[in-house]
Symmetry: C2
Subunit: 155 residues, 2 copies
DNA sequence: GTTGAAACTTAGTTTCC
DNA sequence: GGAAACTAAGTTTCAAC
């Protein structure tokens, strides 16, 4: 794998904020010509440094109910766990799946339309799954920050 | 605020996946002409339906250490709590802040370079803050899914 | 091998119906 | 909303370092 010089890191930091900035505009913040910038950005999109470019949609298109579900697994066999993870990953209601250290194994952030939909989701995905020992739910009252940006230092 | 017909919702669902798709390309999935699509997308970017367009950068630019911190607040006064939240929001190491129901009030996802940086962050931001009663940390072993996409139904 | 400028191509915007 | 003319941005080429 390649590595990233200060220009690449600057570009990544800026594109994390706004992926639609033009090369000419980026040249105001990065000391390279627009064509060099365009080349680097395209290359990083091609080689997987930039995994995706996504529109962030306002929460108001909802209404949405979010819940953080702490899941404790039955770790007697690996395959049922992998199956559960693949099942959860595939669901559009699941925004986040983190494997964590501690008594709970998984943190799953679920977004649904209302409480009925949450209960249906939990029953279908967790209540009946052989890999799930138990789970606890915390409902989200408010999102104060929600970003995928990494803290990229200029090296 | 306006509302969103099935075309808008289709476009939002598609742009959540790939914000760089051209209007011509989107016309393959949405039954509108490229010019109608371009108009709708531009309007949704202008009116705040699309809050931002962000590049998703691969985790391999790290190395990163992530931790989910459950924070219990001292809810005797509101202003110290708001101050803490603003302080956390401003930090690039903080990807997520969720206010939740239950014994803990805040879930904070923190990304740092290593364990020293985490301890420095926790000491500076939480250990010394008057609004924080206590906190518990779960370190992230793996991210299986991490997206900001809402589950948008076609209406 | 990468830069920067210019020619070229593609996509977005504006105008009109 | 859709089509065409127009404008702006991305891509390719090429000379220089």
């Amino acid at each position: 794998m390649r590595d990233w010089d200060r220009y690449d890191r600057q570009l990544l930091a800026l594109l994390q904020e706004d992926a639609l900035r033009t090369a000419e505009d980026l040249a105001r913040d990065v000391a390279l010509s627009p064509s060099a910038i365009a080349r680097r950005v395209r290359r990083m999109r091609e080689d997987g440094t930039i995994v995706a470019d996504r529109a962030v949609v306002a929460e108001k298109i909802g209404p949405f109910l979010s819940a953080m579900v702490d899941v404790q697994l039955d770790r007697h066999a690996l395959e049922p766990v992998e199956q559960l993870l693949r099942k959860l990953e595939a669901r559009p209601e699941v925004q986040t799946i983190l494997e964590v250290a501690g008594p709970f194994d998984l943190l799953v952030l679920v977004v649904v339309a209302n409480m009925d939909a949450f209960n249906a989701f939990a029953d279908a995905m967790l209540g009946s799954d052989p890999a799930v020992r138990r789970y606890e739910t915390r409902f989200v009252k408010r999102r104060r920050k929600f970003t995928t940006a990494w803290p990229i230092s200029p090296v």
